[in-house]
Amino acid sequence: MWWIPVAILAVPLIILVLIYNGLIAKKNRVANVFGTIDVMLKKRFDLIPQLVVAVKGYMKHEREVLEEITQMRARAMQGISDEEQVAMDGRMTEALNKVMLAVENYPDLKASGNFLHLQRTMTDLEEQISAARRAYNAAVMDYNNAVEMFPTNIVAGMMSYKTKRYFEIPAEERAAVKVNLDR
């Protein structure tokens, strides 16, 4: 019967290792998805100069928004922290949506093939960013559940893991996309 004390020692140890590894896997997944969002946001920043050039000639009443977008991009290019990135993402999405909605008032702009292509690319990218945000939130929920629920919370406490914040999903994103290209 030598194995009984071994088992008494080994079983909790194995459980501990599983919980520990599970928590690390969850934390890494959050970081991984955040990395993807980061790449997509950079892609969006790359498109912005093109967008501004394309619409500047037409848009007369939206100077301020365009100005704001350009400034945000300039700041992001200098390198900002993850938290700032998250905060800026919301404002950026809002500003870009304003521009895209304003396009409806400029028929010449809507007729330009160049702009249409750009608009498609932007819509697509927004959809991908939105998907990445949702994936991030799902990963965070998984992680937060593990951090807060028994028994994983005990190990998480020992590893001093804290719950992470969700990405704010802009309200207009919960509804279906309204941009319409049918003419």
Partner: protein, 317 residues
């Protein structure tokens, strides 16, 4: 989309004449089948009585089986032309009525490779049958659908084991977004029964790829989603599309499976009855079966609108 009233007018104005002609044929076939049946029964009876006196009841078995085989072969032969004409004169016109630019091939079907490519079903069927292939462009979307019956048979003789992999309507269309990985949406059975534990079980289904937990609780109640890429699956299954899929599921009230592979969407809708087949032992001059054909076509063609496939605002043209 056409309304039921429009279809009723079409039925009364256009289909009726052909239906009367087909009804006469159907009645004739029924009469002939009855005669055949009586004749075969008499023969079996006579042989049975003759042999019964000589060799006991087991001797009746052979002529009985033989006459069943002959009878069903003859019935299939007699109804073949009728079925074909019915499909060309009625089903095809109903399909054209719903969407004029669609093509219809009564004996065509979506091939086994495409069926397997969808990744919805993991078992490869070795008995694969289908018919009623409809294809064409609805709005800006290329699509096709057909009726399929996919079965896996194993063993032989007494150990023969048949498993129906899928029976029903199979739909393929070009999806309006580009993507590289695969995403499969399956009816949710585990989560419905076991809740959170069910979700744990689903996550262990390693053959399917990783479980994608989506944020729409209504959608999650009906479906379990597996995919290769957490982000791309969410790119495909936008909140709007999830809502539409739930609505489609509620509307059809059937088991439905979806998958997104190679920039196409696959939809499988389970049916127990046969689709687009003519009735033989009941009159054709009845609106109810016609309404059923119409609704079946409408449902399949309507998937394009239901899933909003004609909206081309993303980078894919």
């Amino acid at each position: 989309m056409k309304t039921l009233d429009e279809f009723r007018a079409f039925y009364e104005g256009e289909l009726m004449k052909d239906l009367r002609a087909l009804e006469a044929r159907r009645a004739g076939i029924c009469r002939n089948l009855l005669i055949l049946f009586v004749a075969l029964a008499l023969i079996v009876l006579v042989i049975g009585v003759a042999l019964g006196m000589a060799g006991g009841p087991a001797a009746v078995f052979v002529p009985a089986v033989l006459s069943v085989v002959i009878g069903s072969l003859a019935a299939a032969f007699m109804t073949k032309g009728y079925k074909r004409d019915f499909k060309l004169r009625i089903i095809e016109r109903i399909i054209r009525f719903v969407e004029p630019q669609l093509n219809y091939k009564p004996t065509g079907y979506i091939d086994r490779e495409t069926f397997m490519m969808s990744r919805i079903f993991t078992t490869r069927p070795n008995r694969y049958k289908g018919d009623d292939l409809v294809s064409g462009t609805v709005g800006r979307t290329d699509m096709k659908f057909c009726e399929l019956n996919a079965v896996h048979e194993s063993g032989s003789g007494k150990n023969k084991h048949r498993v129906t992999i899928f029976k029903g309507l199979f739909f393929v269309a070009d999806f309006h977004k580009d993507f590289r990985t695969k995403t499969v949406v399956l009816p949710d059975t585990a989560e419905k029964l076991f809740g959170r534990l069910g979700q744990k079980l689903q996550a262990m289904n390693v053959f399917r790829g990783s479980l994608i937990k989506l944020e729409d609780p209504e959608f999650e109640r009906h479906f379990a989603v597996y995919g290769d890429d957490q982000i791309e699956s969410r790119y495909i299954l936008s909140p709007g599309l999830m809502e539409r899929i739930v609505q489609f599921k509620v509307k059809t009230d059937r088991k439905i499976y979806l998958s997104f592979v190679a920039s196409s969407v696959f939809v499988a809708v389970s049916y127990t009855r046969n689709l687009f087949e003519p009735r033989l032992f009941r009159t054709l001059l009845d609106f109810t079966p016609m309404q059923q054909y119409f609704e079946d076509v409408q449902l399949a063609v309507g998937i394009v609108d239901d899933l909003n496939l004609n909206t081309r605002i993303w980078s894919k043209e």
